[in-house]
């Protein structure tokens, strides 16, 4: 190859002239409003799971007799359900099921998937072929069917649903981790590290892992959102925690019985799910961008 880098790049030069890495205060100021809002949403929902009683005086499971199916009002911000339970309180208390489930799911996927991908990408050979065919097979089965098969095996319940959802994402993590490792391994700086006498493990630790993980962490944030979606779907179908647990999917399923009379019972929990998933999606994107 003859080898001038693309002639001139006025823009690249300007970018280069910017300070290398602004202090975090400056970066905080440049934080985009949508990213800030996303972080806020996740932080809020996270505090719901830890200290729900701080956010509502009502119980998540006990109804108030005589206050059934009330539309949103000052007293009941999001209205009440057929048993007189405050919907807002149920959503706040329900956060723990969706979120803890999503955490377990992402942990399962992240741990096993990344490990498999790392092994495949850094070892290569027949081991890589074997792992990748396994991963392909996992991807070949529609995610919901795979989750359902695992639930059949493990039984119903919040944790089992979370594990089933996490198992589905193992394949995605493995694929991404492998392709990232392969990308980094091809780079000149990895070869240079071997060239300066680095051992396999040293190069893996110093270069391959740190440079591959950004994308994997971005995927984890994205999968956190997907896991909340999947868990609520399985909850809606009735495979998660049994009533009267205020799990979000279950809330929507219950609200469905009052579709013509109480629109808020389905609209509100669904909107909360959408907001949380959107926030996770937004955070994932900014993690991905920061690594590029």
């Amino acid at each position: 190859m003859t080898s001038r880098e693309t002639g001139e790049d006025d823009l690249a030069l300007i970018v280069e002239a910017l300070p290398a890495r602004p202090p975090w205060t400056a970066r905080l100021k440049r934080l985009s409003p949508s990213l800030a809002l996303s972080c806020l949403v996740i932080a809020l929902v996270f505090t719901w799971t830890l200290l729900p009683q701080l956010f509502t005086g009502y119980s998540g499971t006990e109804g108030v007799p005589g206050e059934q199916l009330q539309p949103p009002s000052a007293e009941h911000v999001l209205g009440t359900d057929g048993l007189g339970r405050d919907l807002y309180a149920r959503i706040v208390y329900g956060a723990r099921y969706s979120l803890s489930g999503a955490f377990v799911a992402v942990a399962v996927g992240l741990l096993f998937g990344t490990l498999l991908g790392l092994i495949a990408g850094s070892r290569g050979g027949w081991l890589e072929a074997l792992i990748m065919r396994l991963v392909d097979s996992l991807l070949a089965v529609p995610s919901l069917l795979l989750s359902l098969s695992i639930i059949v095996l493990l039984g119903f319940g919040t944790i089992n649903v979370a594990i089933a959802v996490g198992a589905v994402s193992v394949a995605r993590f493995a694929r991404l981790a492998r392709s990232e490792v392969v990308r980094v391994r091809r780079s000149d700086y990895v070869e240079a590290a071997f060239g300066s006498g680095g051992t396999f493990w040293a190069v893996l630790r110093r270069h391959v892992l740190p440079n591959s993980l950004t994308s994997v962490i971005a995927l984890a944030a994205l999968q956190f959102g997907s896991a909340i979606l999947a868990i609520s779907t399985l909850g809606f179908l009735g495979y998660g925690a049994p009533p009267p647990t205020p799990e979000w999917g279950l809330l929507i399923a219950e609200g469905r019985n009052y579709l013509s009379r109480a629109w808020w019972l389905t609209a509100a929990p669904g909107l909360v799910v959408v907001l949380v998933v959107l926030a996770a999606d937004r955070i994932s994107k900014s993690i991905q961008r920061s690594g590029a």
Binding site: R133, V141, L145, L229, F236, Y239, L278
Partner: protein
């Protein structure tokens, strides 16, 4: 080229074998006992011998590898076993339940493609300015909506609030409108995301500048240069989305109370009817693998570079 085709077919077969084996181990070998669940229950009033006899008739008493080989043979000959709960061949259940699901999925896919193209075309029209940003973030929103909730909301809005679609006795077309929309919206999201990103990437390519330098207008460039290059990678995503399409169809059926694969799966899971579940898993994996194989084989036909690269390097 032949090597490429053989390689792809071989890979597809390997995936099928692994999937089948995994499904067998998970659903048939490990739990093994839908028969026990059904026939050991006291109300059946069967003796231990009778149960054993039934087990033998299902082949459940054979050693595991014999069961495996037998199941392989059965699947190859189109015999997917018996639904233990319903007592009929799984094949018959599928014959009834598969067509409506395929119809729903197919229509939804078409609608999703249409929606994707409209979104991408609109966001690349001149003078869209601020609207462009909104259009481009629409897929992110679509992908964050739970399918089942979307379905419920559509019923809520179009049937209960606006009264446009009848819930009680809808016509054959009317019955499908909301389910198709429910399924199409989330499926269109990843398609639109990939297509929009690709369009942006292709627009940044030097050959686009060369085309502009020839005097080609923006829309000329979009249709004659960008479209084909940007659609190619979207094709791959479309193949991969098949799994999501099927899963989405199952949920959509549940929401709208339609009969089909969804109902069948639901019953199978609730009754631990593993034979049915195994058949559904294996068949959908087969469909997934086939579709993606077709996409892979189609790719070199559409993209001249790949045919070349394939011929020289693979």
């Amino acid at each position: 080229m032949i090597r490429y085709i053989l390689g792809r077919v071989g890979q597809a077969l390997a995936v099928l074998v692994v999937t089948f084996t995994a499904a067998f181990v998970l659903l048939q070998a490990l739990p093994g006992d839908a028969i026990m669940i059904k026939f050991m229950s006291p109300e059946m009033g069967l003796s231990a011998e009778q149960v054993a006899e039934i087990r033998a008739s299902y082949g459940a008493d054979l050693p595991i590898w014999e069961q495996y080989l037998k199941t392989v043979g059965n699947f190859l000959s189109g015999n997917f076993g018996y639904s233990i709960q319903a007592g009929v061949p799984v094949r018959h259940q599928l014959a009834v339940n598969l067509p409506p699901t395929l119809q729903l999925a197919g229509l939804a896919f078409l609608a999703a493609v249409l929606l994707t193209v409209v979104l991408a075309a609109m966001s690349n029209m001149v003078g869209m300015g601020r609207l462009r940003g909104a259009l481009q973030s629409l897929p992110s929103l679509f992908i964050s909506i739970p399918v089942f909730w979307l379905g419920i909301m559509l019923i809520q809005i179009f049937s209960f609030q606006l009264g446009l679609v009848s819930v009680i006795s809808p016509g054959p077309v009317e019955k499908l409108v909301l389910p198709v929309a429910t399924l199409a919206i989330p499926i269109s999201a990843p398609l639109a995301q990939v297509l929009m990103r690709n369009i942006d990437e292709v627009l940044a390519q030097p050959f686009v500048a060369v085309a502009r330098a020839k005097g080609a207008s923006r829309s000329w460039v979009l249709w004659r240069h960008v479209a084909r290059n940007a659609v190619l990678p979207t094709l791959t995503i479309a193949g991969i989305l098949f799994g999501e399409l099927l899963a989405g169809a199952v949920v959509t059926e549940a929401v709208f109370g339609l009969s089909g694969l969804g109902g069948l799966t639901y019953q199978a899971v609730n009754n631990h009817d593993t034979a049915v579940l195994q058949a559904i898993v294996v068949i959908s994996a087969f469909a997934f693998v086939t579709i993606n194989l077709v996409v892979d084989l189609l790719y070199p036909v559409v993209d001249p570079r790949l045919g070349h690269r394939v011929a020289t390097t693979t």
